[in-house]
């Protein structure tokens, strides 16, 4: 057996000290600022309830952690063996201790169980305060949002009004996904041919990021969405603007509102000619679910390509140039578009805004 | 059948039970979970089929390329008879084992043969039943009832088949005089497996065939 050399003895002393320091730093790094998708800064009633239960269990867990690890580490120092030690007392156990350390954890658990059960039932209750129903459908790899109250459908950005409960009825068009926007709600999985429900109400305006949280195939990573929480006036502006975006399909001439500039007009023609209409609707009103996301309002969405690619002209162009290169595995094929065609299409898509706004302002996913 | 080490057979065991007997009971315990899962699967999907044929009700089903009204598909009298045959076979193997333990070769061979014949009859009944169902429009993939029914009873039938092969092997050994009284455990272990297969059917029969 190798002897313990002096250098090793030093390792045994300073490594534990370093570890403890690191642990403290790690705990300090828990601060939620800088994390747009954090669960630690709830902004809705639902998320607030979840957070309360979490904090209770986290506090108790932290106390138990320091107590138990502390006793362990203390024991290692106090009872470290020295050469020539006599055989220690051969204790076999202690019945009273067994009882104590069975009962105390049980009591601690009660302090977690009670708020747990309360919140489970509270969050399961169906909202009765005239909620806004939004039908959410997961697709590989984008999120669809349908507003029955307004007969509107959109994708990627889910606009919600402040101060009104939002009642989500959720399903999927293909495989199991999970809807997760941490600052507003816990997760809810979505299943085919089934409705799962989730509700929340927020009073804080902002753009809250969310992501799919159930592995759903190649591009599960790129299946995101944003919840845009706006005051009532802005929300009305948005939905009325969305309803006004209309289709490029040929119909009675006066019902098709021409896009504002000739490049966009060219793009509008290409949209039909290149077959985009086959998968994407450009009217939000009463539109059916299609293979691809509804593009009414895409001009001023925060992101495209499944809610993750920032909605800039450059990104749109990249996407149209070759979707497979940007997000391999998506259903959208490479249409072999020329750069000229792409420029026109981008202009057209940019024109499909729900809210006419100064061009310099772009919505970002700031979180707060 | 010559088995493993002397260790398994001769020295006293810590529980007092023969090691091979303990092993077959352990295996049977595990297999109970296997069939419990298959039966649960059947029950979960009971009444959830989108089309017929159905076990106890008339339904709309696809027959010869056309949607028609289909009768309930189970033939209870036939299966009841098959169940009885299987139950009797367990009784017969007990008699065979009794013969083996008492060194009565004639009793052993006679009743063991009867057991094997019963097992074969049961398998034949199932094959007939499956073919009959298939002709009445219940394919393997037709509906959830068909899928879960054929999977459950198919696996049971496979276990019966393995049991028949096992018992037949012991029968051949018995005919060759290789199952004297000291080696009756060889039959006992096969018989335990056979009883298990029977017990599983005793659960399947009411749950699948009789329950509505």
């Amino acid at each position: 057996m190798a002897l313990r050399t002096p250098s090793l003895r030093r390792i045994d002393r300073w490594v534990p000290a370093v570890c403890v320091t690191l642990a403290v730093l790690v705990l300090a790094g828990c601060a939620p600022e800088g994390y747009p998708q954090t669960t630690l800064a709830p902004k809705s009633d639902f998320a607030e309830l979840l957070d309360q239960v979490f904090r209770r269990s986290f506090q108790l867990a932290t106390i138990v952690f320091f107590l138990v690890e502390g006793v362990l580490v203390w024991a290692l120092f106090r009872f470290r063996g020295k050469p020539g030690d006599a055989e220690p007392a051969q204790t076999h156990g202690n019945a009273m201790l067994e009882v104590v350390w069975t009962v105390i954890p049980a009591v601690i658990l009660v302090f977690i169980a009670i708020p747990t059960i309360q919140v489970i039932f509270k969050t399961a209750a169906v909202p009765t305060d005239n909620p806004l129903v939004i039908e959410v459908t997961g697709h590989q790899w984008w999120w669809e949002f349908r507003y029955p109250e307004y007969n509107l459908v959109t994708a990627g950005d889910m606009h919600v009004p402040l101060g009104r409960t939002v009642d989500l009825r959720m399903t999927t068009a293909d495989v199991v996904h999970s809807f997760w926007t941490p600052q507003l709600a816990g997760k809810r999985d979505v299943f085919p041919k089934r409705d799962n429900r989730l509700w929340f109400r927020t009073e804080t305006p902002g753009v809250y990021p969310g992501q799919c949280a159930e592995f759903c195939g190649t591009q599960h990573t790129r299946m995101a969405f944003q919840v845009v929480a706006q005051d009532s006036a802005s929300f009305v502006t948005w939905r009325e603007g969305l309803a006004a975006v209309s289709a490029p399909a040929p119909g009675p001439v006066d019902s098709a509102a021409p896009p504002p500039n000739p490049l966009a007009a060219q793009g509008q023609q290409l949209f039909t000619a290149k077959g985009c209409v086959g998968c994407h609707a450009v009217t939000a009103v009463g539109a059916p679910t299609m293979t691809g996301p509804n593009l009414a309002g895409v001009g001023d969405r925060t992101h495209v390509a499944g809610g993750w690619l920032p909605n800039t002209d450059e990104n749109l162009a990249r996407w149209l140039h070759n979707p497979q290169a940007v997000k391999v595995g998506v259903l959208m094929p490479n249409l072999g578009l020329t750069d000229v065609e792409i420029t026109a299409l981008v202009a057209y898509l940019r024109s499909l805004r729900a809210v006419p706004a100064p061009p310099a302002v772009a919505l970002t996913a700031a979180g707060n | 059948m010559a088995h493993d080490t002397a260790h398994a057979m001769h020295p006293p065991t810590a529980t007092g039970l023969d090691t091979r007997k303990l092993a077959i009971w352990t295996f049977i315990g595990s297999e109970c979970l296997f069939f419990a899962t298959l039966i649960s699967n059947y029950l979960v999907y009971k009444g959830k089929s989108l089309v017929g044929p159905l076990p106890h009700e008339t339904s709309q089903c696809l027959l010869h390329g056309q949607m028609t009204t289909c009768e309930p598909i189970f033939e209870i009298p036939l299966v009841t008879f098959g169940t009885a045959v299987l139950l009797f076979s367990s009784f017969f193997v007990v008699l065979a084992l009794n013969g083996a333990q008492r060194g009565n070769r004639k009793q052993l061979i006679g009743w063991l043969s009867a057991t094997v014949v019963c097992g074969l009859f049961f398998i034949g009944m199932q094959v007939y039943e499956f073919r009959h169902f298939y002709h009445k429009g219940l394919g393997y993939t037709t509906n959830l009832f068909g899928s879960s029914f054929y999977t459950l009873t198919g696996f049971h039938g496979t276990h019966v088949t393995i049991g028949v092969i096992w018992l037949a092997t012991v029968l051949v050994l018995a005919i060759r005089g290789k199952i004297p009284a000291e080696k009756s455990l060889n039959l006992e272990i096969a018989a335990l497996y056979w009883h298990f297969v029977d017990v599983v059917w005793i659960v399947i029969f009411p749950v699948v065939y009789l329950m509505r």
């Binding site: 290692l76 069975t102 816990g186 | 493993d4 090691t19 899928s147």
Partner: protein
């Protein structure tokens, strides 16, 4: 009469008759089978570790393109599947094989050829599962393969099929071994070794076998149903035919939750051996440890849906499973406190096995606490499917199982090989592993709580996840280094390590009463036992024990080697492979024929030949 030097030469002589590849292929000796499991499992574990390093390299900074999405998904799936089924489980099997017979005073397991069969089936299963990489069709849908992503429609390639077949083969190996060890522990104990005198490792192993026996049939059925859906057109999990994907989750987790106890209990057992020996006092609360182990296993079958809190089961179901899960924390806590009670008041010997055993306790406390946090559905709705969960299960599986099994490796290496591992390298290994492990997995708690979902191949730069991911990647490299040190320690010690006496640690259990490594028959004379910690008791009554002699072994009857186990194993694997490639009937029939031929030949093989 036998000195250490003589013992070493004797070790060579004892195995002289059984050298060469054929002797390993036909071995039915539990010790050799244990070594086969150990070497194979360690190699698979290294593959799983390499997969992890690749994942961590990809995640080290935002928007990296080191791995394509498809490859990433294959690697994370295979990492999980490999570590669980080809890493932790067979590493535990190495110790079951080698030490259960020794600790109960037996010459071998109840069914030595069945034991060999289990190993070969495991090896074939592991090879087939990894062969999927050669077809660029490694499983890529996550190690729990949720329906209906796994349906033919959404996973048209062979990836899912490889996973199904691989796991099915491995399941057969586990079931066969479980029957074997269950019967061995119950029936082959030495005279006087009542159940409540068994070493704690044997107890935990016994409970593990029960879990295996009851849980694996469930996954067997689930895999069959999935395979039928994919290859035979059924709709068990396919919604268009009325099937319900949630059923898959129920079936999987009915298996999956007991499975995690299968993964941790052997490590519990190892640590319960090491802590007393290196504290020089008995395990505190033996009976409480036995009963808590049984209680955990029993309850473990009732909490499966705590993996499904986000599926919307309804408040009643959520409540029931939440309470059940919290309940399991109680016996788990009892164990932790009893381990602390074991070292308390002792004379702690800081040798490498003890380092890892203590590391186990410290890390498992953390993993257990995060587990309690998930037990509450409201909290779990934020935590599930995030890196907080990834942190939890790595703390219990790596900080728990791997640290525990590594303690076992250092503890039992001298017995298995007749050599001591280097204490110096062992300490370096420990600290590298401890630091690397915590650096890799502690920040995952932070990332999860701050919104990083799991199973993502990258993340945007503006999410804030970059810093801790970079730290974790550095940590993973340190872990890689730790294992390199371990391998160097093993290779160096095998070649030139100090010769190990029979009992280098002053152990309490029977394996330390025979030479290192043991002779083929284990005990020259069958031991009799009249208390727990049999060897300590023996020393108390008889004083210092002499170094056990190596004897000739004449007159000791041992099971003969046989090639029927590997033949039958091959038939079994072939049968299942037939279901892999578009269900090729002739392959299946050939496999069945070989299996039946193997079984019959095995059954009629004379006991001595």
């Amino acid at each position: 009469m036998a000195t250490i030097a003589m013992g070493h030469a004797g070790a060579e002589a004892a195995y002289a008759e059984k050298k060469g590849l054929w002797s390993w292929i036909t071995t039915v000796d539990h010790k050799r089978i244990g070594i086969l499991y150990g070497v194979s499992a360690f190699l698979f574990f290294l593959i799983g570790g390499l997969e992890a390093l690749l994942l961590r390299w990809q995640l080290g900074a935002p928007e990296k393109t080191f791995l394509s999405p498809e490859l990433y998904n294959q690697l994370f799936t295979m990492h999980g599947t490999t570590m669980i089924f080809l890493g932790v489980m067979p590493l535990s099997a190495m110790f079951f094989n080698y030490f259960i017979p020794l600790q109960i005073g037996a010459r071998d397991v109840a069914f030595p050829r069945l034991n060999a069969y289990s190993y070969w089936v495991f090896l074939f299963g592991g090879l087939i599962l990894n062969a999927s990489f050669l077809f660029n069709a490694a499983p890529d849908m996550g190690w729990f393969a949720y329906a209906n992503l796994t349906s033919k429609q959404y996973s048209p390639g062979l990836n899912v099929d490889f996973w199904i077949i691989g796991l099915q083969i491995l399941g057969i190996a586990s079931l066969a071994a479980a029957v074997n060890f269950f019967v061995t522990i119950l029936n082959l104990r030495a005279p006087g070794m009542k159940m409540m005198r068994m070493p704690m490792f044997v107890w935990m192993s016994l409970i593990t076998q029960v879990l295996l026996l009851l849980a694996f049939p469930i996954i067997t059925v689930a895999l069959v149903l999935l395979m039928l859906d994919r290859n035979f057109g059924t709709h068990f999990f396919v919604p268009s035919g009325g099937g319900d994907p949630v059923l898959w989750q129920h079936l999987f987790w009915l298996f999956g939750h007991p499975e995690v106890y299968i993964l941790i209990l052997p490590a519990f057992g190892v640590v319960s051996e090491v802590l007393p020996v290196f504290s020089r006092k008995p395990l505190f609360g033996y009976a409480a440890m036995v009963f808590s182990g049984c209680f955990i296993a029993f309850l473990g079958f009732g909490v499966w849906s705590h993996h499904m809190f986000s599926t919307g089961m309804g408040p009643m179901a959520d409540t029931v499973f939440s309470l059940g899960t919290m309940l399991i924390a109680i016996p788990t806590g009892v164990k932790i406190f009893n381990w602390i009670g074991t070292v308390w008041g002792g004379s702690i010997q800081f040798k490498t096995p003890m380092y890892f055993a203590l590391g186990f306790v410290a890390m498992f406390i953390i993993g257990g606490l995060s587990g309690v946090m998930h037990a509450s559905p409201p909290a779990d709705l934020q935590q599930t499917d995030s890196y907080f969960i990834v942190a939890h299960f790595h703390y219990v599986l790596f900080g728990g199982s791997i640290f525990g099994l590594t303690a076992g490796a250092y503890y039992w290496f001298p017995k298995m090989t007749g050599r001591m591992l280097s204490e110096a390298l062992g300490k370096v290994h420990f600290w590298l592993m401890f630091i690397g492990f915590n650096l890799t997995f502690a920040p995952m708690h932070i990332l999860g709580l701050n919104g990083m979902p799991r199973r993502v191949y990258t993340y945007s730069a503006d999410m804030g996840f970059g810093f801790w991911n970079a730290i974790e990647t550095v940590g993973s490299l340190i872990l890689g280094l730790a294992f390199l040190v371990f391998i160097i320690n093993i290779l160096k010690s095998l070649r030139s390590g100090a010769v190990a006496p029979a009992d280098p640690w002053h152990g309490a259990t029977l394996e330390w009463s025979i030479p290192s490594p043991p002779q083929e028959w284990n005990f020259a004379v069958e031991p009799t036992v009249d208390s727990r910690d049999a060897l300590w008791e023996l020393r108390r009554t008889k004083g210092v024990l002499p170094e056990p002699a190596r004897v000739s072994g004449r007159g000791i009857h041992l099971p003969s080697p046989s090639y029927w186990p590997i033949v039958t194993a091959f038939g079994t694997a072939l049968t299942l492979v037939g279901f892999l490639m578009h269900v090729t009937l002739w392959v299946i029939l050939a496999g069945v024929a070989i299996t039946m031929f193997g079984i019959f030949s095995w059954a009629f093989e004379p006991a001595d030949h």
